[in-house]
């Protein structure tokens, strides 16, 4: 289980904690403490001696300034071996967001990010990794998101983060850094994220999505947070957040609208994600067997079964996200069964076509070859798992490190095309469709089989996968050469 540290160092005038302002009949810090109590082992509160009287805890951790906060955080991180959750005490947030953060299976430091607005420090991210972050002393150009003040340090990262916090305190002690205009000038959490980015510790982002995550700094933001809480249906937000944010078009718009409801129902029935994964695999085998019959009725029936298999394939991941039940074996089985299902279906189509005198085995083998090659390209490309732009290392006493050198020549054009097409929804989705993700492939494997038959399936499939390969290869090679 986890240790949570609430950072209550922001003053809302007259020696009063911002975290102790009234919001919806309670205060942020009281609300957070009761939200955290059932979810973590231990909740600590860090505050100033002068602000302690307004803190609703008996024995808070006390420090005098920001460097003291960082030292204390380092001490907490060095002391135990469980994951640590660092949270701004003046946050008003959905309890389900805490569940999402706490159940994150990744071994990297994670930070909740939201749209850029007030109350959060700006960050620039690349591939879901923080590249540059803002704080009371640090600015960021070209920020796309903002830090919401919830950071999880998994057990295996504790010592690294502690080291970064300690050296940040040492660097900033005595350094004269002008405080940029902000209502929370004592924000150790923001400084810690800058320190992590600048020492090369990877901080991965967790999107806030439909959840509430508002920082209360004064009466006005308190009212706004209360109104936001009122507006948001937490269960619905939780269901929506179970949908993978980077899924393809078909997965997001044609299947997820109902698969997420199935996932929620499955969670209520306490079905395990791996059970759904195995059921989807079994249906894939049935679909392949039906396709192997080769006649029209069997093709239509196979298409229907395959679509149900695809739906269940999305349900398992959504169920795991919804219920916070991720396991490495689940992730592995999900991925392997997807591949086995797909390649069995190609074989089923080829067997069925052969029964009716049409030999499409070469096409099936070509589809397997190209799809495996495209997957291997996606696995191997560093942009897939690692950020395209690594955080630049440098001292904390510099307000902003130079933005990364921009690409040259054709790489610049590729980067510009990539950025330009990313901003417009139509082109962004167009690009994702062109990548031929799994739901699109299964759609071809079912709809084209039912309407046209095996040869039509493989013709459409091969054209599409060739386009996807050409697109992936050209863009990535250009960018890699220019880097």
């Amino acid at each position: 289980m986890t240790t949570a540290v609430l950072l209550a160092t922001t003053e809302a005038g007259a020696g009063r904690l911002a975290a102790a302002l009234a919001v919806a009949g309670t205060t942020p810090v009281v609300r957070l403490t009761s939200q955290l109590a059932p979810r973590v082992d231990d909740v600590r509160l860090l505050t100033r001696p002068t602000l302690a009287p307004s803190a609703p805890v008996d024995f808070p951790l006390l420090t005098g300034d920001l460097c003291g906060d960082l030292d204390l955080l380092a001490e907490v991180l060095e002391a135990g071996s469980a994951p640590v959750l660092l949270v701004h005490a003046e946050l008003v947030l959905s309890g389900a967001l805490l569940d999402v953060v706490l159940a994150d299976p990744r071994s990297a430091v994670t930070a909740v990010v939201g749209p850029p607005d007030d109350g959060g420090w700006p960050v620039r991210t690349a591939g879901g990794v923080v590249v540059a972050a803002g704080s009371p002393f640090h600015s960021v150009t070209g920020s796309s998101e903002s830090l919401r003040g919830v950071v999880r340090v998994p057990a295996q990262q504790r010592s690294l983060v502690a080291k970064a916090a300690r050296s940040a305190a040492d660097e900033l002690r005595g350094a004269r850094m002008p405080v940029l205009d902000h209502a929370a000038p004592q924000d150790a959490l923001a400084v810690l994220i800058v320190a992590l980015a600048r020492t090369g510790v990877r901080v991965r982002t967790v999107p806030v999505r439909g959840f509430v995550c508002a920082r209360v700094l004064d009466g006005m933001s308190a009212d706004r947070a209360a109104a936001h809480l009122e507006r948001v249906d937490e269960d619905r937000a939780r269901m929506d957040a179970a949908v993978k944010p980077d899924d393809g078009f078909t997965g997001t718009f044609l299947v997820s609208p109902y698969s997420k409801r199935l996932a929620r129902q499955a969670a209520r029935w306490q079905v395990r994600p791996n059970t759904v994964t195995v059921a989807s695999m079994a249906l894939g085998v049935v679909a392949a067997a039906l396709y192997a019959q080769g006649d029209r009725e069997a093709l239509v029936a196979g298409a229907v079964v395959l679509h149900v298999a695809l739906t269940l394939d999305l349900v398992d991941g959504q169920l795991a996200r919804y219920a916070g039940a991720f396991t490495p074996l689940g992730a592995y089985l999900d991925a392997v069964f997807d591949r086995v299902k797909e390649y069995l279906v190609y074989a089923g189509l080829a067997v069925g076509a052969g029964r009716h005198g049409d030999d499409v085995w070469t096409l099936a083998a070509l589809a397997l070859l190209l799809q495996t090659t495209h997957h291997t390209l996606q696995f191997s490309w560093p942009g897939g798992e690692q950020p395209q732009v690594l955080p630049r290392r440098g001292p904390l006493t510099v307000r902003e490190l130079d933005p990364p050198a921009s690409a040259r020549g054709p790489g610049r054009i590729a980067a510009a095309v990539s950025a330009r097409t990313q901003t417009h929804p139509a082109t962004r989705w167009g690009k994702r469709i062109l990548q031929f993700p799994i739901a699109e492939r299964f759609l071809v494997l079912s709809v084209a089989a039912a309407l046209g038959g095996p040869r039509v399936v493989f013709t459409v499939f091969l054209v599409w996968v060739c386009l996807a390969l050409a697109w992936s290869l050209s863009g990535r090679v250009l960018r890699a050469v220019a880097r």
Binding site: Y343, L368, T376, R483
Partner: protein, 188 residues
């Protein structure tokens, strides 16, 4: 060191050629040679295909020696694994097509077994941080070994049955090895 080197699946021929040679920092330039077998099968007349395949595979294996134990840190080295997959699968498929229509479904079965293993390596590195065992890579003969074997078996006129047998044997070996690894992980 990059994870890419585990995706290579080099066989004994490449290993032998690499013995005592310094690994190159970037792997892509030497790995391009892995395309030789499939290119030879595609451009040379079918009558010379077998000799061409055997010669091209031997040359490709020797030329791949510096890449074999390379750290794969070149800026384009992420092209190495897809290149190795496409060239091996492509050569096997072309050989099967030349051999006759019966060999193509057999080749599909073999490619599916190989693909299972190649995905398994990626996903187990991702989900368990587990490197593929050396004995399994050697037992699978590597891309170079498999191409040589396929060429010889095609010369003997038994390519189709041999591919079915190889697919079955490899699939059993690959699947049982990953199942055992997961059981080991569960009890550990």
């Amino acid at each position: 060191m990059s994870v890419l080197r585990h995706y290579r699946d080099d066989g004994p021929l490449v290993e032998l050629a690499a013995k005592g040679r310094a690994p190159a920092a970037t792997a892509l330039p030497s790995t391009v040679a892995a395309l030789l077998p499939v290119v030879a099968l595609l451009v040379l007349p079918a009558a010379h295909a077998l000799a061409a395949l055997l010669a091209a595979t031997a040359v490709a294996a020797v030329l791949n020696a510096p890449a074999s134990r390379s750290p794969h840190v070149g800026r384009l080295d992420w092209l190495v694994p897809p290149l190795l997959r496409a060239s091996e699968y492509g050569a096997l498929l072309r050989l099967a097509v030349l051999d006759g229509p019966d060999a193509v479904p057999a080749c599909y079965a073999l490619l599916a077994a190989l693909a299972y293993h190649h995905y398994d390596v990626v996903y187990r590195l991702r989900d368990r941080a587990e490197e593929p065992p050396t004995w399994l890579r050697r037992a699978g003969l590597g891309w170079d070994g498999r191409l040589l074997a396929a060429g010889l078996l095609s010369a003997l006129g038994v390519l189709a049955p041999a591919m079915y047998v190889a697919a079955g044997v490899l699939l059993v070996a690959y699947v049982s090895e990953s199942a055992l690894a997961w059981r080991r992980g569960a009890t550990a």
